[in-house]
Each structure stands twice: as structure tokens, then as C-alpha cells.
Amino acid sequence: MFDLITPFLMQSAVQAITPILLAALAGVLCGRVGVFNIALEGQILIGAFAAIVGSYYLGSATGGIAVAIVGTVVFSLMLAYGATVFRGDPIVICIGMNLLASGLTAYLLRQMFGVSGTFSDPAIVGLDKIRIAAIQQIPVIGWGFGRQTILTWFAWLLVIVISIVLFRTPLGLRLRGVGERPDAAEALGVNVRAYRVVTVLVAGAIAGLAGAQLSLGTVSIFSEDMSAGRGWIAVVAVMLARDNPLYAAAACVLFGFADALSIRLQSEGLPNQLTDIAPYVVTLAALVITHRRRSRAGTASSELAAATPGGTTEPQPDTR
């Protein structure tokens, strides 16, 4: 088993984890304020496309990141207002957003760049890799982080920041209150809607970074539907972690390794159709294992109802 962990594997694992981790953190924030966000897939895709647009027209990776943030925040307005002020069903809105992202990026790809499928151009500036020679020599961890983009570092920093903000600050207390007991939070003078809207938009910006990492972090291309299920894996990570950023990061590490391992197995000669499904199989296995323990504790049914639209619990117990 140990000879499987090579510097290359570690590097590709950390690289594969970054977009999923950023998206999962976005999902955690939304979940904490009581908005079940399954639009991560679409948000990543919009972020990836906007990053390419920004990088292409502004000629810098920073420009790409900026456009990715703006684009995804604008896109996330639909969820932010649709699920709060307009009281739409977040699940339906998110499904609509995912399809809109897929259609809109494909449409704009044809209209703006005149290509379908994949767009690559020398004018697209990719993200620089930060090389830190000192840690590159440290086995395992150092191999992984020796040569990564700024977004990877930012993602892991964000895990710590979000954990501290959520559990150690008054702001975090209010955020959690908005999600867990919106009526109580409202009674204490917290503007529930405003907190939800702003949090969903901040989460949108983070999901946009996930997209930027995806399109600019490795090969600087955009291809249709390039998010390829990463947003859904992030949704699972959020569910497994029960909206805890640290656990979500742990889940993402697991999926990232499954992903990197599948690439590794591919180089060992296994057909890619089979190795590609490794992350999903690991995800399903993780769901089965964790939920089996939970259902013994007898808490699964309430969560199940919450994830079912039109079920027993209204997704938005709004206070007005």
C-alpha cells in the first residue's frame, strides 16, 4: 500500500481535492444558515467559465479569479433571493440553476469563442504554482503541498477561518442560530433573511473559486460540463460532515485520494471507464457506512425528511 503513495500521487490528490473542498465549504456555509445548496455543480461550472473569460480578456490569472467570483456571485443571486425572499423550493431552484449553468456556459462558449466542446487558447493565463522548496522534501504532506496554486492554500486556510468564525465568534453564533432556530434568531434581533442572502452570496464566491481552480489550476482549458460531478461530491461531503467544515475537509480528502488513486490505477493499465467511477463508489460507500451508524442511533428519518421537497418539513421555516 505504501508504495502507492508517491510524490506524484500526493500532488495530484491535493490538486484534485481543492475544487471539491472549496465547493464543500460553500455548501457548509449555506447549510449552516438553513439553505440546502445542491447547486454547487452549477456554481463550479459558472466559476470555471467566468475564470476562463476573465483570464482570456484581462490577460491575467488574477483577472480570471476576479471575474469568476463576480460571475458566480451574480449567478448565486437566484438561490440567495429565490430561496429566501421569494420562498421558492431550494431543491427545485438548485436543479434549475445546475441546468442553466450547463446550458448557459455551452451557449456562451459557442457565441463568445465560436467553439463547442473544449476551449483552449494561448491567451488564457493559468494560475501560477507556488513552489516551496523547503517543504517539498517533507514526505507525504510536503509532496502534496510543495507545488500548488494559491487557491489550494486559500482553500485550506478557509477551512480554519470558517471553523473559527462558525464556532468561536458572535457572528458564527448568529449564523448558526439563523439555520437552527430562525424564529429565535429573529426574536433576538437578527435579520434572518439578510444573513441568509449574504451567506449564500459569500458561498457563491467560494464556489466560484472552486471553478477557477478547475479551469485555471491545471491545464487552462474550459470544456462543457467540466465540473463532472464534483459539485455533487461536495454536496455529499457536506452531508457526511453535517455542515462541519473540518469534517467536510476530511471527507474531501477521502474523495480526493480516491480520485488520484483512480488516475494511478489508470496508469497501471486499468481501463479509465472503470477507474473514473472510483470517487463515486467511495462516496456511496462512505454514505452507507456513516448512515448505517446513524440510523442505529435513530436520527436518520428527520434528516431524510429535510432532504425531500414537499416532505414533512418545509425547507424554509421563514419568519415574517
Binding site: 445542491i38 437566484m78 429565490g82 430561496a83 425572499v85 421569494f86 420562498r87 421558492g88 423550493d89 431543491i91 427545485v92 431552484i93 436543479i95 434549475g96 440553476m97 441546468l99 442553466l100 450547463s102 446550458g103 448557459l104 455551452a106 451557449y107 459557442r110 457565441q111 463547442s116 435579520n191 433573511r193 460531478g229 455533487w232 454536496v235 455529499v236 452531508m239 481501463p271 471507464q273 472503470l274 473514473d276 467511477i277 463515486y280 463508489v281 462516496t283 456511496l284 454514505l287 452507507v288 448512515h291 448505517r292 446513524r294 440510523s295 436518520a300 428519518s301 434528516e303 431524510l304 425528511a305 432532504a307 425531500t308 421537497p309 414537499g310 416532505g311 414533512t312 415574517r320
Partner: protein
């Protein structure tokens, strides 16, 4: 806080049916998108209309509607009970693959092959869908996510099977060999085959069960209030598994119709490229799972997409615009439903 009441008041004043409003808004926003990208929206919409509803193109629309309406029913049946099946892609692929393999490897005469292929496709896809429901009832894994996640392994394994062990080595693509002539669906006229009748029959059955039977009543009851249905004596676990089996079985039949009726082989990716599952889900969401409304939605989206081909041919506007239109319509409708709920 201040925005919401005024928005609610204006909605009450307008009193437009929500679906019509959503479609109108979708068309307006789509038109703006076309205009911004330098084409004439009126021409684009005219081409969609002619390309879908003129006598020449109507059979094409119907042909496109067969899998789309089928996948609409796949989504609508669980939605009627407040459940969402996101795994239609995987279920359809299983159905398509099984329907291609049965005639290729079962020594039997043509008509028997067709029936066996449909039965096997429906059962395999139905069981796979029921697996997601079983995961929810037995282990508490939300079906919303498990149905989708189960899709990926199904697609991957199917892709492997036709890419390696059972590949037609005479072609460059990952696909099975052609199925024998006798096992192909009878052509009615031009592009249309018996599949259209089969889907119509299934649609009629779904509507009948929804309106006239205890099963349908219990499912609607679950959709209105799960707890009430449970107290009323509906065995929720068993119901969820059965509903998902039926939903998956229809997805399998849709895959089989495409394979036996028009492609005559299972080609990797060919069932998924048109994104029938997602369009079907949106059509079902349009009507909130009510079968007749969902079927109308499916027909509408089929017309839109068929017209999209004509639009792409006649103007420079890519046909993926129709997907954008569909999602805008759903988004507006979700918001409108929410506003009415207050």
C-alpha cells in the same frame, strides 16, 4: 423584508397563470440573450416554431418526444409522492444496454426477443432504481443524492462493457454489434416506430393509476403530507421502493425504445448526449409531478428542442439556447410557486 410584500401584491394584481408567466418570461430573457449575442430573436423563435410544429417537422418532434416524455414520467411519478429520482441517466443506460444485449445473445425468434428485451430492460433498470429507495428506507441515505450517485457507476460499467468485452470490433466506436433485424421495432411512418405507441400507452396507464386507483391516491397523499400518509396506513417504505422500481423500469423501457427503435445498438454516450433525463425532470417539475401537466410539459420541451435544431441550421444561434430557456422557465416557476405559498 420590505421587498417581499410589494412583490406579493403585484403578483396578486396580475393574476396570470404561473406556468404561462414563467414561459413568457423565459422567452423574453432568452430573446434578450439571443439579441445580445447579435442575432434576431424573432427569427430564432420563428425557426423554432416552424422547425417543430410545421407538418414536415411534426413527426420529428414526436420522435424526439418519445424518450423525453418517457423520462418526464420517470421523474413525475416519484415527484407526485414528494420524492426525486435524479438517477434517470443510469437507469436509462442500464435499460438500453440490456435491451441491446438480449437480442444479441439470446437465441430466440424476433418477437420473443423484443418482449424479452423490454422485460429485462425494465426489470434491471427498475431494480437499480429501487436500490436507491432501499438505501433511503433501510439506511437513511437521502434518495435525492444516492439516485444520482448510483448513476455514475452504472454509466461507467456500461461504458466499459461496450468498450472492451462486448465491443463490436469492426467499428472504431465503443458500441455493441447491430441487433438482428427481427428484434427491431416496427416502423410506423418515416421516423416514427411503435415506441411512440408504447410511451403513449404507458402515459395513459400512469394517468389512470394516478386518478383512479388506490395506489395513485396513496402516492398523492404522500406528496401532500408524508406523515399524514403514514398515519393513514400507507406503508411508506414499501411504497417508496415500489414507486422507484416503476420509475426506473420506465427509464429502462425508454432506453430500450431508443436502442431497439432507432439506434439498433448500444453506443457509449449516445443515450445521454440529448440529456432526456434532465429535460424530463424539468417538465415534471413544471407540473409538480401531476402526470397530464408533466406530459404536456414534456411535449412542449420536445417541440422546443426539435425546433432548436432548425434554429441552429437556419440562424447562427446554437440550439443549446433551448436548454437555457427550459431552465429559466423552471427557475421562474419555482419562485412563483414559493410566492403563492405564503
Amino acid at each position: 423584508m420590505s421587498v417581499a410584500p410589494s412583490a406579493g401584491k403585484s403578483a396578486r394584481r396580475l393574476r396570470l397563470p404561473p406556468v404561462a408567466t414563467a414561459i413568457l418570461l423565459g422567452i423574453v430573457i432568452g430573446g434578450i440573450l439571443v439579441f445580445v449575442s447579435g442575432a434576431n430573436p424573432a427569427t430564432a423563435y420563428y425557426e423554432i416554431l416552424v422547425g417543430s410544429l410545421s407538418p414536415d417537422s411534426l413527426p420529428n418532434t414526436l420522435n424526439w418526444a418519445v424518450p423525453l416524455v418517457g423520462m418526464t414520467l420517470v421523474a413525475a411519478i416519484p415527484l407526485r409522492g414528494g420524492m426525486i429520482n435524479l438517477g434517470g441517466d443510469g437507469q436509462m443506460v442500464i435499460g438500453g444496454l440490456v435491451a441491446a444485449l438480449v437480442p444479441l445473445y439470446l437465441p430466440a425468434p424476433g418477437p420473443v426477443l423484443i418482449i424479452a428485451a423490454f422485460a429485462a430492460a425494465a426489470i434491471c433498470a427498475g431494480l437499480y432504481a429501487a436500490l436507491a429507495a432501499w438505501g433511503e428506507t433501510r439506511h437513511g441515505i437521502p434518495m435525492l443524492i444516492s439516485s444520482l450517485l448510483l448513476s455514475y457507476p452504472a454509466i461507467g460499467v456500461a461504458s466499459y462493457i461496450v468498450g472492451f468485452p462486448l465491443r463490436d470490433v469492426h467499428t472504431g466506436l465503443a458500441q455493441t454489434e447491430m441487433i438482428p433485424e427481427g428484434a427491431r421495432l416496427v416502423v410506423l411512418t418515416g421516423a416514427l416506430n411503435v415506441g411512440v405507441l408504447l410511451i403513449a400507452a404507458i402515459a395513459a396507464l400512469v394517468v389512470f393509476f394516478d386518478r383512479r386507483t388506490v395506489v395513485g391516491y396513496e402516492l398523492r397523499m404522500r406528496g401532500s403530507n408524508v406523515r399524514f400518509a403514514g398515519y393513514g396506513g400507507v406503508r411508506l417504505d414499501r411504497q417508496a421502493i415500489r414507486v422507484m422500481f416503476v420509475s426506473g423500469a420506465i427509464a429502462g423501457i425508454v432506453g430500450a425504445i431508443v436502442v431497439l427503435g432507432s439506434q439498433f445498438r448500444f453506443t457509449d454516450g449516445a443515450l445521454l448526449t440529448p440529456a432526456y433525463t434532465w429535460s424530463g425532470l424539468m417538465a415534471a417539475l413544471l407540473a409538480n409531478g401531476e402526470p397530464i401537466g408533466a406530459i404536456c410539459g414534456g411535449l412542449f420541451f420536445a417541440a422546443l428542442q426539435t425546433g432548436g435544431f432548425a434554429m441552429q441550421r437556419e440562424t447562427a444561434v446554437p440550439r443549446v439556447l433551448t436548454i437555457v430557456l427550459q431552465s429559466i422557465i423552471i427557475l421562474f416557476l419555482a419562485v412563483r410557486h414559493g410566492m403563492q405559498r405564503r
